[in-house]
């Protein structure tokens, strides 16, 4: 059985990463409450924060950053496929309903 011994972060680093995640979550909640001030930037910022947290957990906790590129291709491939297909469906439904 091929057992891979990839390098991984130490416990202390994991805690630091978790702290970052916590901070990002806090910013998200703050953004929710300051929506009026931030205005039209709110949603894009929220999305960026969510994507950031997503990438951090996938890359470091799930170890994808350190894994074989093949696994990366599967996961990223699935994500891109999903994003494209669902974007088309959403646009089509929006267009059909509002045009």
């Amino acid at each position: 059985m091929t057992v891979d011994h990839k390098p991984h972060p130490k416990p202390v680093q994991y805690v630091q990463i978790a702290l970052v995640l916590g901070v990002l979550t806090a910013v998200e909640v703050v953004l929710y409450y300051t929506e009026d001030t931030v205005g039209v930037f709110t949603n894009p910022l929220l999305i960026i924060l969510a994507v950031g947290k997503f990438v951090i957990v996938v890359g470091w906790f799930m170890h994808l950053k350190f894994e074989d590129p093949l696994i990366n291709k599967f996961f990223t491939g699935g994500m891109i496929l999903a994003l494209i297909l669902f974007a088309i469906v959403m646009f089509e439904r929006a267009a059909a309903n509002f045009i």
Partner: protein, 653 residues
């Protein structure tokens, strides 16, 4: 001689089963070959059932103003015919081929996850049984204000919303009763089986190839298995959710697809066809793979353009995800979507064309051996081409608006699915028959089967092209005399019975040849790929020692050199080598480890229908039984020992 030793260590609560013969050994098997055989027989049984459903439809339509079937029964029959043929016949037959052949073609002992493999099979069996239990327990009521008899017979008490279950027709309001729940939940269960297989095959192909079997040395059939697995893996989750939505709408009062509650019926179409279109490529790619194996063998030439065929296969799979809304051109989707999908549908003809040219290139200049597998593969090219051409005409949106919901579409998909997939499958069944059973089928009966089927098939589906363009509408139980459709409909129905006759010939050949057919030897076709280098019938351990592959068509190159003009010249040592190979194949020199059989796949699978019935009949006890079976199955699976059966090495040198 070799003998199988029982596992020595039993370190946990559950002993693994160890019988080799009898029903119990089949129930607990994890051997890919046995699983493949069981898939094959079960799928063929459902093929016959689906065929009978078709014959009933054709009897009804053989003459105008007929009432052989009531409207309710007709709706049930065409729905079950489509659902059965797609999910219970073609997909499982393809699974039979994948299961049996994949490890052999890549030189492995078994798949990556043998118990998961068994699980797929048992879920398929229970799912099919669950779906068909509708005829025993299901009810199909009359929708408010609709036209249906008060009392619906048993034959009509089956899913009746089409295999595609369009909303809101398939909602509780317009399809009261339980039949459409059997459909939604049945498909849900069947989907799990295929999804699980997909992981298995992807992992197997990536990680279990024998030494030297680089990806670009794999047989085309293996590549198509790979592509199909991706299609399954990424499309099934979408329909799983969609089917949950249907069940929730019908059983729990939600309104995902019902406008009364703010829902959107077109969303169902999107989600269904997001799966449904990749599904049709799932149905055809295995046949592409089979034909790509048969044509070179019976043309005595290598496959023309191997890399092109591989990449075209993946191109089709990939683009296949981008054409789904061509099933929705008439469903009030936005014009931009219509244009986009019309374009992508035309584009997908390109890689398909590439494959056809490559197959023709394979045959061109070859020394053709016109045995039954070759006849079916040649027939495949012709029939699939016709179906592909009518398919391209659908890509033109205004033309499609005329063709949609007419028999023209029925003609198209039967040419590609029957003339394409089924012909390819028959080609494969004849081709690998000697490998699986060790006997040769009867060639004369094979030819009779082929010609009867060709004639019957074209008589059945050819006229549907013009019947459709003349206005015969799909899914309609009766047509009036005045429509002038009677003559060709009668021809169509006669054709259907000729197909049935040809199937009887096939069955007779199969049964007779398995018993009394001549011994086939391990390489009766002088073939190219490594599954032909081991004894027939395949020994349980597949390869007595792991093969080491040096090139594409490795087995061929073991037997043949090439002269200056590229023509094959049999090596002098070939015959002696083949004899040695056969002896070695039957008598492994070392201990061989095989995965152990297990009870837990069937236990786990058996819980699913209970959950299904629990949802339909709102029964907590049934739900608990189902959940317990799943839990016990999972827990036992996770904790049973992993040691394998050992096959003691042979005593002779």
């Amino acid at each position: 001689m070799t003998k199988i030793i029982e596992p020595k260590k039993q370190s946990n609560i559950f002993k693994r089963p160890s019988s080799e013969t009898g029903v119990w050994s089949w129930i607990t098997t994890v051997d890919h070959k046995r699983i493949g055989i069981m898939y094959g027989y079960a799928a063929f049984f459902f093929l016959l059932v689906g065929g009978i459903e078709a014959l009933l439809l054709r009897i009804q339509l053989a003459s105008p103003d007929n009432n052989f079937l009531s409207a309710a029964e007709y709706n049930a029959m065409f729905t079950m015919h489509g659902t059965t043929m797609i999910f219970l016949a073609i997909m499982p037959i393809s699974a039979a081929f994948f299961n049996y052949l994949l490890p052999l073609q890549i030189g492995a002992r078994d798949v990556a996850f043998p118990r998961l493999n068994a699980l797929s099979f048992w879920i398929f069996i229970f799912g099919g049984g669950f779906l068909y239990s509708t005829f025993l327990f299901g009810t199909a009521g009359a929708p408010e204000g609709g036209y249906l008899a008060e009392e619906v017979s048993r034959l009509g008490s089956a899913p009746n919303g089409g295999w595609f279950g369009y909303q809101p027709n398939a909602s509780m309001k317009y399809s009261p009763g339980t039949a459409m729940d059997y459909w939604a939940i049945g498909l849900q269960i069947l989907g799990i089986a295929s999804l699980v297989s997909a992981f298995n095959f992807i992992t197997t192909i990536l990680n279990m190839r024998t030494k030297g079997m680089r990806l670009m040395r794999m047989p085309v059939f293996t590549w198509m298995t790979f592509a199909v697995s991706f299609l399954l893996a990424f499309s099934l989750p979408i329909i799983a959710i969609a089917l949950f939505y249907v069940t929730f709408d019908r059983q729990f009062g939600t309104t995902f697809f019902l406008t009364e509650g703010g829902g959107d019926p077109v969303l169902w179409q999107h989600l269904f066809w997001l799966f449904g279109h990749p599904e049709v490529y799932i149905l055809i790619l295995p046949a592409f793979g089979i034909v790509s194996e048969v044509l070179p063998t019976f043309s005595r030439k290598p496959l023309f353009g191997y890399p092109a065929i591989v990449f075209a296969g993946f191109g089709i799979a990939f683009i296949g995800f981008g054409v789904w809304a061509h099933h929705m051109f008439a469903s009030a989707i936005s014009p931009v979507a219509q244009a986009g999908f019309g374009l992508s549908t035309m584009v997908i003809a390109v890689p398909t064309g590439v494959k056809i040219f490559n197959w023709l290139g394979t045959i061109w200049g070859g020394k053709l051996i016109m045995k039954t597998p070759m006849l079916f593969s040649l027939g495949f090219i012709g029939m699939f081409l016709i179906g592909g051409l009518s398919g391209v005409t659908h890509a033109i949106v205004p033309a499609d608006t005329q063709q949609t919901d007419t028999y023209y579409v029925v003609a198209h998909f039967h040419y590609v699915l029957f003339g394409g997939a089924m012909f390819g499958i028959f080609s494969g069944l004849y081709y690998w028959f000697p490998k699986v059973w060790g006997k040769m089928y009867n060639e004369t009966l094979g030819k009779i089967h082929f010609w009867l089927m060709m004639i019957g098939f074209n008589l059945t589906f050819g006229p549907m092209h013009w019947l459709g363009l003349q206005g015969q509408v799909r899914r309609t139980w009766v047509y009036a005399e005045e429509t002038n459709l009677a003559f060709w409909n009668l021809i169509v129905s006669i054709g259907a019975f000729i197909i049935a006759l040809s199937i009887l010939v096939f069955m007779a050949n199969w049964i007779y040849s398995r018993r009394k057919g001549p011994e086939a030897g391990f390489d009766p076709w002088d073939a190219r790929t490594i599954e032909w280098s081991i004894p027939s019938p395949t020994p349980v351990w597949n390869f007595s020692k792991p093969p080491e592959v040096k090139s594409l068509d490795h087995f061929w190159h073991m037997k043949y050199d090439e002269d200056e003009e590229g023509r094959p010249v049999k090596k002098e040592t070939a015959d002696a080598m083949l004899l040695e190979l056969e002896k070695e194949g039957l008598n492994p020199k070392e201990d061989i480890a095989l995965p152990n059989p297990s009870y837990f796949p069937i236990v786990l699978a058996s819980g699913l229908p209970f959950l299904g019935y629990a949802v339909i009949y709102k029964s907590l006890p049934l739900a608990i039984v189902g959940a317990l079976l799943i839990l016990i199955g999972s827990f036992g699976w996770g904790t049973e020992p992993l040691e394998e059966e050992f096959i003691e090495d042979s005593d002779d040198e």
